[in-house]
Amino acid sequence: MLIQEQSRHGRTATAQAPLEMADVSDLPAGLRRKQRAALPEVSELQAVRHYTRLSQQNFAIDTHFYPLGSCTMKYNPRACNSLASLPGFLARHPAAPESHSQGIMACLHELQDMLKIVTGMHAVSLAPAAGAQGELAGVMMIRAYHDARGDHERREILVPDAAHGTNPASAIMAGFQVREIPTGSNGDVDIAALRDAVGPQTAGIMLTNPSTVGVFDRNIQAIAETVHEAGGLLYYDGANLNAILGKVRPGDMGFDVIHMNLHKTFSTPHGGGGPGAGPVGVSKRLEPYLPVPLVVKDGDDYHWQVEHDRPESIGRMTAFGGNMGILLRAYIYARLLGAEGMRRVSEYATLNANYLLARLKDAGFTAAYPERRASHEFIVTLKREAKEYGTNAMDFAKRLLDYGFHAPTTYFPLLVPECLLVEPTESEPKEALDGFVDAMTKIRAEAQENPDTLKQAPYSLPVRRLDDVRAARQLDLAWRPERVED
């Protein structure tokens, strides 16, 4: 039942607003609202009970193994939440003067520095509000760079076919055209195709390495050389940074610009779909274009740099400079880990992925790239199961829910048929991985015995399988009040 359906006219939780209605008769009558907004009228208990119970209908890291590929669903330390929520941090107005901001600015400045070190980049801006905004900032800087050089013909961005959908979408938002580069059968970018594609129109390439197919592109140096020689720049999609933290740095691979998804590698909460934070790091030549604000240190004092301090900046990504509360959480996480902890992240994330892949292969599942090491994630293709039992990847995914596991990412990347992209993360114990292998094995046995068991799944959740087609065809996007006579 919706909270709106629990509403009763005249019911209020009056402790939660000023007790009196102040006089607002000075507001022009013509600009006043005619009818009270249709918000629910419920008691505080009703709201608390409703949302507490709704929350219980979610799978989450805090309740389930959640190996959603490309999303890095690892433990979000609770300390990050409580410390970022200290009253001093929550109360600070975005326009507070620097005199009343040195504490948070110290955190932000140190975070900028740490991100520079882990990525091997020359400078970092924390401004973008999420990964996709970081991508956009990144390609905007590539564009600003070429434009500043008068190189106005470079209007094409190369994107491997395995790339996250945000890559081409971001390139388009920055005013580029997009050209796809195929992935070779070994999972690496098809270098020959890349060589054919580059030219004077090439603004750059957007790449994630390890790629979304879960392998480290061994030709990265050749790719960098090819693109650079053609006059393009290299953009690193930091979605998979968790795989290489402390092991290899995008800056050392030759990338010119990178974004980082702090809600992945730096474990800020995924929050049911955000907020994220997507800091960008750049090589020296792109530094002038970084989005504002930046924090700089002058002696013992921290200062903001904004538009008028940085005239070549691509500008600001949000009104107030970024998702500060998320940046704080990432900072706290980074301080808890330290250098040795960061190295452990990639080590154990990779160990878990390779172990889970090995166990699944042993159990008879098909790896998409069987000859390759897994990075922090890997792809299993269920095309054999689809052919033999008529059960597709989504059927496996839904049935996994019944076994108490969130499903891996399904049908992405698009180039691998019936694929599951599995990312266990470093914070899961071996027992969880073993449990997942057991469940997959049982589900395949079910598929063999009676495919309908999978096709009808899930059975044990708050709802059975939902009709997505109906949702899109018979659009119902908002509850509407029945108009009552006043």
């Binding site: 890291i61 507070a96 994220g276 808890l336 939902l466």
Partner: protein
């Protein structure tokens, strides 16, 4: 090891299963010359206790001054229940509800949020959030240009009385797609942007849409009905930028003019988000039913399950980047889910009547603050117009000096208007939400008077 559960025995067993000698072997596909030598400069890890001490010190260092700045971010009371529930692990540590059956909690919240935002704005449909108010405006502009079937123009009128950071952000985000934001001057006497000003700005050529803020950055109330109707007469779409708390009292975009605004967006921060230095907040974006397929961002829809039971799922995904890639309505992926959860719980607890009282109290407090400050010689309203919840004041001395002197006494005395509008200098934009008491406001007046008399 913090956050890593592996015992030595586990590692040995796992390596054996993989057939590797060491964890390091798992990285053997990385060219050796690329392998990072270290993380010099990253400090050693701290215990939670030590990090706690460090952060407590930093938070304390910033003090908790008495804040009279609004300017797009507002210190409201947030019921204790809001964040205690929002940070429950099931909301906090879930992700985008790709597996709808295992995410009914989040999905129903999104649907309820969309319903509340349409209720508040009077529009037909809402998405499930964008990053913030300014980036929401950018998406609204992009959407309007795409959606306007009557005009091929890529020009959009945007008044200078709109928040300066919104204008800057929007310009940056839409400029690369060849969209021109044409600035519209405000009436220097009132701070408002009447139709005549839009008309003047549009003289250069056809426009696809216009933006109208309510209230505007100066707190002044615009004649939204006239501007909306004028836009429609010229085949432009009207984009409203509104404060959601103000919507409890003011006519919502859906009711503007004859047929209502076409798109309404804004900053959701006043709906249960702490100031938090500027984020995370949440941008909202609502529109008429006709434009739903041009709406960017996640959208939750109601549907049925295999047994005919009601459930919720993400829908219209064909608009989105993970399906549509370069043809998507936007590149947005992760949005502000957790803030949506907070806003939804906030609105459910406060309710329409509570929100009205909050809005009224903010308005009355700012009015009272204006009265108090205008007792000081040389302080007076900058504009002659009805305002809501913000007040622009002329000052008798340089703004930055005054604000610095006040800050030294832990009073944040408003937003320096001269920094953004040199022609208005010296002037300040003040705001007193329901959180400010009479005592707070009198203290502000007294300290400002004292600072001025020291001049």
């Amino acid at each position: 090891m913090p956050f890593i559960p592996h015992t030595e025995a586990d590692v040995a067993e796992m390596l054996a299963a993989i057939g590797a000698e060491s964890i390091d072997d798992l990285f053997d596909e990385i060219p050796p010359e690329l392998r990072a030598k270290g993380l010099d400069g990253i400090p050693a890890g701290l215990s939670e206790m030590d990090v706690t001490r460090l952060l407590q010190g930093r938070a304390r260092a910033d003090g908790q001054p008495l804040c009279f700045i609004g300017a797009g971010a507002y210190e409201h009371h947030i019921p204790a229940a809001v964040w205690q529930i929002t940070t429950r692990g099931e909301f906090y540590s879930a992700y985008t509800p790709y597996q709808a059956e295992a995410s009914q909690g989040t999905l129903q919240v999104l649907y309820e949020f969309q319903s509340m935002m349409t209720g508040l704005t009077g529009m037909d449909v809402s998405n499930a959030s964008l990053y913030d108010g300014a980036s929401a405006l950018a998406e609204a502009v992009l959407m309007a240009v795409r959606a306007n079937r009557k005009s091929k123009s890529k020009r959009v009128l945007i008044p200078k009385s709109l928040h300066p950071s919104y204008r800057r952000t929007a310009r940056g985000l839409v400029g690369n797609q060849g969209i021109e934001l044409v600035e519209v001057d405000f009436d220097p006497a009132t701070g408002q942007t009447p139709v005549a000003q839009y008309e003047a700005a549009a003289a250069d050529g056809e426009c696809a849409a216009l933006v109208v803020p309510q209230p505007n950055f100066f707190g002044a109330l615009e004649d939204v009905d006239a501007v909306t109707d004028w836009a429609h007469e010229r085949n432009m779409l009207a984009i409203g930028v509104v404060n959601p708390v103000a919507m409890a009292l003011l006519s919502p975009p859906g009711d503007w003019g004859e047929t209502g605004a076409d798109i309404a967006c804004g900053e959701g921060q006043p709906l249960g988000m702490p100031l938090a230095s500027g984020g995370p907040y949440l941008g909202f974006l609502t529109c008429k039913q006709d434009f739903v397929r041009q709406l960017p961002g996640r959208i939750a829809g109601k549907t049925l399950d295999a047994d005919g039971k009601v459930g919720y799922t993400l829908t219209l995904q064909a608009r989105e980047q993970h399906i549509r890639r370069s043809k998507a309505t936007s590149n947005i992926c992760t949005n502000q889910g957790l803030l949506v959860t907070a806003a939804t719980i906030h609105m459910a607890i406060v309710g329409a009547e509570g929100l009205e009282r909050v809005a009224a109290s903010c308005h009355a407090n700012t009015r009272r603050l204006t009265e108090l400050l205008c007792e000081i010689p040389g302080v007076e309203p900058l504009f002659d117009a009805p305002v809501f919840h913000e007040q622009a004041l002329r000052l008798p001395a340089p703004t930055d000096k005054l604000l610095r002197a006040l800050a030294a006494q832990d009073i944040l005395g408003g937003f320096d208007l001269g920094a953004e509008y040199p022609e208005l200098d010296p002037a300040v934009l003040v705001c007193a939400t329901e959180m400010r008491t009479e005592e707070d406001m009198v203290a502000f007046r007294d300290k400002l008077a004292a600072v001025l008399s020291d001049e």
